[in-house]
């Protein structure tokens, strides 16, 4: 045992033993990390670069030039053409019509599917009833069923409901197919909220909907953001359902895009195609860019606890 009455006082600075602070050993490491990250970023960003550059070139330049090179002469003609002039059959109004159709389809689909899925998740977590987990299991399993399996029966169901070709039919389809993953997200998120909050609200006399709308929803912004982003991109980008369950005057933008891209007249107008592609992707893309942080937060809250 050490004698503690003594206080230890060694010389304040020990010359020599100091040893200079080594150069930051990690700097090499850092360079490698940033190097690799930049390389990876290149892989991700290059296609976007190509799209943007090509869409700003005129056709002659596209044909002779390097796809990675920036345009010698910037032209917005391809954008104008893609938006307003490109033809499919007799319709030469480009993507403009599809844009509004997409909006008309996406907005109600996103809203309805999120409402349904969030209520599902809420019921699954806070109001468990006999068999609720089984239904959820089936639902999750449904996420793996190839759409093709269900295209045909759904045609029949929609026919019986009189919704075939109606925007609401498509909304219904999107709600159904968005349900598994969204319900999973909401369920995980609500399960991560303290149960005591739910109990407190019950003691306070809030009912099923009162608790949901006034207590849980206001504190679930991140997960609603994630759901919103997933659904907006998913529905906006949908092609298969859009083409099968609607009619030409209601075709969403992706169908229009596919039409423009495939309506080849003489040569493929890559610049117009790229512009059309960019325009189509603009909505989901900007939503991602605007709400990226919330998205990541929501993912962390809802998805990680599988």
């Amino acid at each position: 045992m050490v004698d503690l009455s003594q206080t230890y006082t060694a010389p304040r600075r020990l010359a020599g033993a100091e040893g200079a602070k080594p150069k930051r050993r990690l700097s090499g490491n850092r360079i490698m990390i940033y190097g690799i990250l930049c390389l990876i970023s290149l892989y991700y960003i290059l296609p976007l670069w190509v799209m943007v550059m090509t869409s700003l070139k005129g056709m002659p330049e596209v044909r002779v030039g390097n796809i990675f090179a920036p345009p010698v002469e910037v032209t917005f003609q391809p954008w104008i053409k893609a938006w307003a002039e490109a033809c499919t059959g007799l319709n030469c109004d480009g993507l403009s019509r599809g844009f509004w159709n997409s909006v008309k389809i996406t907005v109600p689909s996103v809203i309805l599917s999120i409402i349904v899925a969030s209520v599902n998740g809420y019921a699954l977590v806070n109001w468990k009833f006999k068999g609720s987990e089984i239904f959820f299991g089936i639902l999750l399993f449904g996420a793996f069923i190839p759409y093709q399996v269900m295209i045909y029966p759904i045609v029949i169901i929609l026919r019986e409901l009189g919704l075939m070709g109606d925007v609401w039919g498509l909304v219904l389809v999107h709600t159904i197919f968005g349900m598994p993953i969204l319900t999973l997200l909401f369920r995980n998120y609500f399960a991560s909220l303290p149960e005591e909050l739910f109990k407190a609200a019950r003691v306070d006399g809030a009912g099923f909907w009162g608790i949901f709308f006034r207590v849980l929803v206001p504190m679930s912004l991140p997960i609603f953001t994630v759901a919103m982003i997933l659904q907006v991109t998913g529905i906006w980008n949908d092609f298969l359902f859009g083409v099968i369950y609607t009619k030409p005057e209601a075709y969403p933008m992706t169908v229009q895009l596919n039409n423009i891209v495939n309506s080849v007249q003489g040569v493929k107008e890559y610049n117009v195609n790229m512009a059309a592609t960019l325009i189509t992707g603009l909505v989901p893309l900007s939503i991602y860019l605007l709400s990226g942080k919330l998205f990541v937060r929501g993912i962390a809250a809802g998805a990680v606890k599988g």
Partner: protein, 387 residues
């Protein structure tokens, strides 16, 4: 009323042709043509068309290849019966060849309007390409085969084609019918096993093999992009239906001067009379039904027939129209038709299932180094299993 019309005519020449129909319809009636083009090809459009008809929300009129495609829809009572119009317009008389109307007829009732006659037995060649290679334009498949090495040397693709099964399958049909009508019928109509295993059919597959070599390096998907290569002189030839002519016309090229069209690959000059027809799904609305019938009348009218077919590069379905304005290629077709050298199209002889399988087979054959023996064996199997 507004009539929604779906079709998959979206390439340049095709779109111009449809425009004629729409113009005529809107000029002659008070109805409106709402265009519902679906780009891609029939393969993209058909599922949409069929599911909408089945789903109870049909368009008012739609393009379909007549033949077995629509039969079940008709049997299910989903299609409008056009018999009264047909009788009124005396279609039985005016539609030439008669087989076209037969294809629209189920149990004696008429359900579709044949719009044009398409033949697929054409080979299109580029004079500029041969000039570049320093050789004379070829007159048939054999000569093209012989010229291939020289063309390659000059950096010219001997045979252009879109890498899609349906285009590649034309080669099989054309080699068969190009060999002889009998062989063609023995294979597709009679499904005769001996014939299928005969040397004649095997030879067809050797030709396919040659075609595969000549087309290596093509790298396009769409038929009209392949046609564009021929137009530009980058490729020497393309085997494609008569609609390719529309693309040449659109590019301002003249048959004989800039390009040549060879029926039956330069061999037996028989043409099939497949083609497009319009069907009118049954819609429970008297106005629409009336409008549908008016559209049917417009489609078969001589003016529309001429205008449409000139633009599209196909042959009219009426024998009684004046096609003075038709180019040399169309004239060639008309002559062949007049000479009665007409064969029934594959669509009418075998099921869509078999057609699709042949397309798959060709896609595989042209997209890989599958041996001719394997391809032949697979072909025989498909035909024999078809009902």
């Amino acid at each position: 009323a507004d009539l929604e019309v779906t079709h998959w005519w979206t390439s340049g020449g095709e779109a111009n042709a449809v425009q004629e129909l729409a113009k005529a319809f809107e000029a002659k009636t008070d109805h409106k043509w709402v265009d519902g083009a679906i780009a891609g090809s029939g393969n993209t459009a058909r599922p949409v068309i069929i599911s909408r008809i089945i789903g109870g929300d049909p368009m008012a009129a739609t393009q379909l290849n007549h033949g077995k495609q629509a039969q079940e829809l008709i049997e299910a009572g989903l299609m409008l019966d056009l018999t009264d119009i047909a009788e009124e317009g005396n279609w039985a008389e005016i539609i030439q060849p008669k087989s076209l109307l037969d294809a629209c007829t189920v149990d004696g009732r008429v359900y579709c309007v044949p719009l044009n006659i398409h033949s697929i037995q054409w080979m299109w060649t580029s004079n500029a390409a041969f000039e570049k290679a320093g050789i004379d334009p070829v007159n048939n498949w054999e000569e093209l085969k012989a010229a291939a090495p020289k063309l390659r040397e000059a950096g010219i693709l001997p045979l252009a084609m879109g890498a899609q099964g349906w285009q590649e399958a034309y080669l099989v049909h054309n080699f068969l019918s190009g060999t002889s009508e009998d062989l063609y019928y023995a294979v597709y109509r009679d499904k005769d096993e001996d014939t299928l295993n005969s040397d004649a059919v095997k030879a067809v597959f050797e030709e396919l093999n040659a075609a595969r070599d000549m087309y290596a390096g093509g790298n396009v998907q769409d038929w009209n992009l392949a046609t564009a290569k021929v137009i530009n002189g980058e490729a020497a030839a393309q085997v494609m239906g008569d609609w390719a002519q529309g693309e040449f016309a659109l590019a301002g090229q003249k048959a004989g001067e800039d390009y040549n069209c060879l029926i039956g690959m330069g061999g037996e000059p028989s043409i099939s009379t497949g083609g497009d027809a319009f069907y009118f799904p049954l819609i429970d609305n008297a106005d629409t039904t009336a409008a549908q019938k008016e559209l049917a009348k417009v489609l078969i009218s001589p003016e529309s027939q001429v205008a449409f077919n000139l633009k599209k590069g196909s042959l009219p379905v009426r024998g009684d129209v004046d096609l003075a304005a038709a180019g040399p290629c169309m004239q060639k077709g008309l002559e062949t038709l007049a000479a009665g050298k007409v064969i029934t199209g594959t669509d009418q002889l075998i099921t869509p299932d078999a057609v699709g399988q042949i397309q798959d087979l060709m896609a595989e054959f042209f997209g890989s180094d599958m041996s001719t023996e394997d391809a032949h064996a697979a072909f025989v199997e498909i035909i024999l299993n078809d009902e």
